[in-house]
Structures are given as structure tokens and as C-alpha cells.
Amino acid sequence: MSSALGAMFRVLEQGLVYAVMAVGVYFTSRVLDFPDLTVDGSFPMGAAIAGRLLIGGVNPLIATLCAPVAGFFAGAATGALNTKLRISNLLAGILTMTALYSVNLRIMGRSNLPLLRTGTVLTVMEDMGISPKLSAFLLFCIVIVILKLMVDTFLRTEFGLALRATGDNELMIRSLGVNTDSMKIVGIGIANAQVALSGALVAQYQGFADIGMGVGTVVAGLASVIIGEAIIPPKSVGMGTLGAIIGSVAYRLCVFLALRLGFAPTDLKLVTALLVIAALSGKSIKSGIGAEGRKASRHAGTEISV
């Protein structure tokens, strides 16, 4: 019984730490309407940077906070490729992601960095007298609450409104004097800052950074966002970010159950992909019945292409 409870607690911890990434994916896919594949590279980049700095003896808090800074530039690079060089959104993300693979290897120096003997943000919590059993849960709760409040507040500022309008109606917000290219560059940067932060935390939580840990991040993030939307209809910005967080926990629960059902851990990417396909096809069938409008079909199209 207590082992089952312990397992659920682990699921919750995972859900929260990956929720930081899911909110980032929500930011690009829903707020900016940009299918961003940079994420598969910026997530391990966050892990690589934090890992390398921790091994170098840098203060864990500073090491962790360096990750989002680098993530911002990775996302901004994708935005610049798309807006300045007119490379399609998907390809721009793939290019950055591919380039980041080499960058991440350079940062780490090898393909795997064990972090079990270095100090981490979690050992810092424990040094403050917090029980090791609770430290990860508490830390991730604090991080996700702060992040959610920051994102919600940001999206209601003047700048945030322009950013949302860029995802909703580019033509209109440009006619109101907004440089939509800059908006996309900054927006995708912010999203990847969150993703890299998540990667840095995950590395410290699991005790290593690995070059392959980014594979499937986008799809997992999307699965979280979609599951979240099914649980909480995203009527407002606050509901949207809350949905991504809850969706992330629900997604990790699905993964946990799939493992319990006897799927091998190596099958999980397939399970996740099928989950997303099922959710998307359900949606496109629904919107196909209800709407013949241009807007509706355009949306169904982008959702599937994501």
C-alpha cells in the first residue's frame, strides 16, 4: 500500500517538474500558434548547462538559472530563422534542434553527466532542513506556482497582449503597430527558457544529464497540453496554464499506468504518440462535423501539423 502511495507521489513530482516544460509548450503551441520543435533540443540543453556548471562547483541556484537564459537564445534562434530567413516554422525548429545536439555534446563533453555526487537545488533544500522525501515535491510546487503566476501576469501586460494577438491575428496586430517578427522571436525564446529550466530541474531530480533525454519532449508536452485542455477548458490564460500543469501530471499518470500494464519503458514514446494522435483525431472529427468555417478548418490543420 505505502509503496503504491510512494509511486503516486513520484508521479506527482514528475508531473510537476515536467509541467514547467508543458507550460512552455502551451506558450508556443497555444498562445503563439507556433509548432515549435526546438524543445527537443532546448530541454537537454538546460540539463547539460546545469549539469556542467554543477560539476564545476557552481552554486546550484545559479547553475539552474543559467539554463533558461540559454534556452531563451535557442528559442530566439528558431524565431529568427522563421521570421528573418523565412524558413518554415517546423523546419526552423528542426534546424535549431539538430544544431543543439552538437552544442549540448560540447557543453557536456560526453554523452552522460552523473550528478549524484554534486550539490543540486535538491541538496540545497535538504541542507535547509527539509526532509529528502519532500524536498523535490516542495521545490517543484514552488517553481511551478511562481512560473504560472509569472506567465499569467506577463500575458496580461501590454506586451503580453501583443504577443497573444500575434498568435491569434497577425494581420490585425501588425496594423496596430506591432512588429510581429520580434514578438515571435521573443515569445519562442520565453517558451524555450521555460523548457530549458525544466530540463535543468529534471537532470538534478533524476541525478544525471543525458544527451538523449530530449527525444520526444515536444510530443510529451503537447500530450500534456491536450490532456489539460480536455480536463479544463482553456477559457482564459490562467485556465490554459493551469490546464497544462494538470495535464502534465495526468500525462505522467498515463505513463505510469502504461508501465503497470506491462508496456516496456522503450515503448512509451509509441504510446505517447498514439495518445496524441487519438486526441487530435477526436478533435478534428468534432470540428469537422461542427464547422465549415475557414477559421475552424485552419485550426484543425495547425493542430494536426503540430
Binding site: 501590454e158 506586451f159 497582449l161 497573444r164 494581420l171 496586430i173 496594423s175 496596430l176 512588429n179 510581429t180
Partner: protein
């Protein structure tokens, strides 16, 4: 106010042979000029408005607004002085955002957008007051997403947003064409109201020749990328739709039995 000097714009078609959408277009607008723009499909009316707004660069010529040469400025840098309403009511507003958020964005037209609150309490009062002037009851629905509004309500909001921050120039491209006749008329009346209240120059594209003569102070007709007719009040106030067609044919030196403009008159 607005000065267009010999604008040329050619669109490259996929077949290779380009298409002249603007040919030596010169136009000078005074403050408070309300110009209606007519012409058959493909005459270059939308292209003219897009060239003024800076949606694409022109091939040659100059666009001067209020003494400033904006020919090489991108669209977003001209926006502080230009308000636009598009034909499609979906295009003028952000559907997933609330009425007040849409208006707040319009209020910041052309200004720096920082990290202060997007909609302040003071803004809200102002928006409510502005919306009540529409008489559509939108002042009580500030927090509703715009996608819940009808096409006419959305267009009314777009019109209000286009003029909220007092632009110098208002560009209307068939902004009532997608609406049912009654709503179209209401939006048209609203347009005249708003224009009367603020001092600004207006370019309004319409296919309705009667309307083109009935509103505004001046009418220009385009044909194959050129301005072929330009009449102002008081001469214009005497004109009828058939005079307009007569003048069009004189200007072009041709008389087509199945003229497209003629057909369009009949549908109104």
C-alpha cells in the same frame, strides 16, 4: 495629409509575366477629406490601400504622410497614423481575446508596449463609454471573447478600434461587404458618425456606386491600376450613378456593353 507620388506596383505572377496593379498613381488628400474609391474587380483598389499602409513595398514612387516620407517604412512603423478596417470582420479583431483586451491593444496603436498592465481600470471606463456610443450593448460585455460576437458587432468593434487612438488616416476596404444589407447600413452610418466626430482623412473602398456618391466629399475611380476619375464636391454632389458611368467611359474611351461595373450597379 496624404501625398502619393507616382506609385507603381507590379505583382509577379507564377507564369512570369507580371501584372501592373498600380500604374502612376498620384493622389493628394487634405485633412478631413473623405474619399470613396470605386472600380471593378482587380482594378487595384486594395493594392492602393495596402501600398499606403505599407503591407508591401512599392516598385517606385513616394508615400508621404503628414510631411513624412514613409515609402521605406514597414507596415508596423506606419501604424501610429493609419487605422484600418478590413472586409472580413474576423480580420480586424483577435477572436480569442476579450473585448477590453482588443480595445487596449488598439489604444496603444504605434506606441511602445511594456510590462505594465494591459487593461487598467481607467481604460475600462473609457472603453465602456466608447462602446456605449455604438449602441450595441457591448459596454456590458467587456470580458467576453470577441469570437462570441456577431459579424456586425465585430465589425463595429473593429471600426471603433481603428479610430480609438485618433489616427490621421482611416483606410476602409469594403468594410461592409461581408455583412447583411441591414447591418451593412448600420456599420456605414456608424462609419460616417465616427468620421464626423474625429478630424481625419478617409479612403473608403466600395462597390456600391450610389453609396460612393452619397457619402464623403470626393470620389475616385480606378481601372487597371490607374486613377481614371477624380471628382470632388460640389461637382460631385450633382452627379448620379449614370453620370459616373458616363465619365468612366469617357475617361477610358471605350464603351463595353457588359461592363463589370454596370453589372455591379444592378445588384445594388
Amino acid at each position: 495629409m496624404l501625398e502619393l507620388r507616382s506609385l507603381y506596383k507590379k505583382f509577379q505572377s507564377s507564369a512570369g509575366n507580371g501584372r501592373m496593379a498600380l500604374k502612376d498613381v498620384s493622389l493628394s488628400l487634405q485633412p478631413n477629406d473623405f474619399v470613396t474609391v470605386i472600380g471593378s474587380n482587380g482594378a487595384g483598389k486594395s493594392t492602393l490601400l495596402n501600398a499606403i499602409a505599407g503591407v508591401f513595398p512599392v516598385d517606385s514612387g513616394q508615400v508621404v504622410i503628414d510631411g513624412q516620407d514613409v515609402t521605406y517604412l514597414p507596415e508596423y512603423r506606419r501604424a501610429s497614423v493609419i487605422g484600418r478596417v478590413f472586409q472580413d470582420p474576423m480580420q480586424g479583431t483577435a477572436g480569442s481575446m476579450s473585448i477590453e483586451e482588443n480595445m487596449a491593444m488598439a489604444l496603444k496603436r504605434g506606441l511602445r508596449r511594456g510590462l505594465s498592465k494591459g487593461v487598467s481600470a481607467k481604460d475600462r471606463d473609457y472603453f465602456r463609454q466608447q462602446l456605449s456610443s455604438l449602441g450595441l450593448g457591448l459596454e456590458d460585455r467587456l470580458l467576453e471573447p470577441v469570437k462570441l460576437l456577431s459579424g456586425g458587432q465585430r465589425q463595429a468593434l473593429a471600426l471603433l478600434m481603428a479610430t480609438l487612438s485618433k489616427p490621421k488616416l482611416l483606410l476602409l476596404d469594403e468594410h461592409t461587404a461581408a455583412l447583411d444589407p441591414r447591418t451593412a447600413q448600420e456599420i456605414q452610418e456608424l462609419t460616417c458618425d465616427i468620421v464626423r466626430r474625429g478630424s481625419l482623412s478617409v479612403l473608403m473602398v466600395t462597390h456600391n456606386l450610389r453609396l460612393a456618391l452619397a457619402v464623403g466629399t470626393r470620389t475616385i475611380m480606378m481601372h487597371e491600376g490607374e486613377i481614371v476619375l477624380d471628382v470632388s464636391d460640389p461637382e460631385r454632389s450633382e452627379m448620379t450613378v449614370s453620370d459616373l458611368l458616363e465619365r468612366f467611359h469617357d475617361a477610358k474611351g471605350e464603351r463595353l456593353s457588359d461592363d463589370r461595373i454596370l453589372l455591379e450597379v444592378c445588384t445594388y
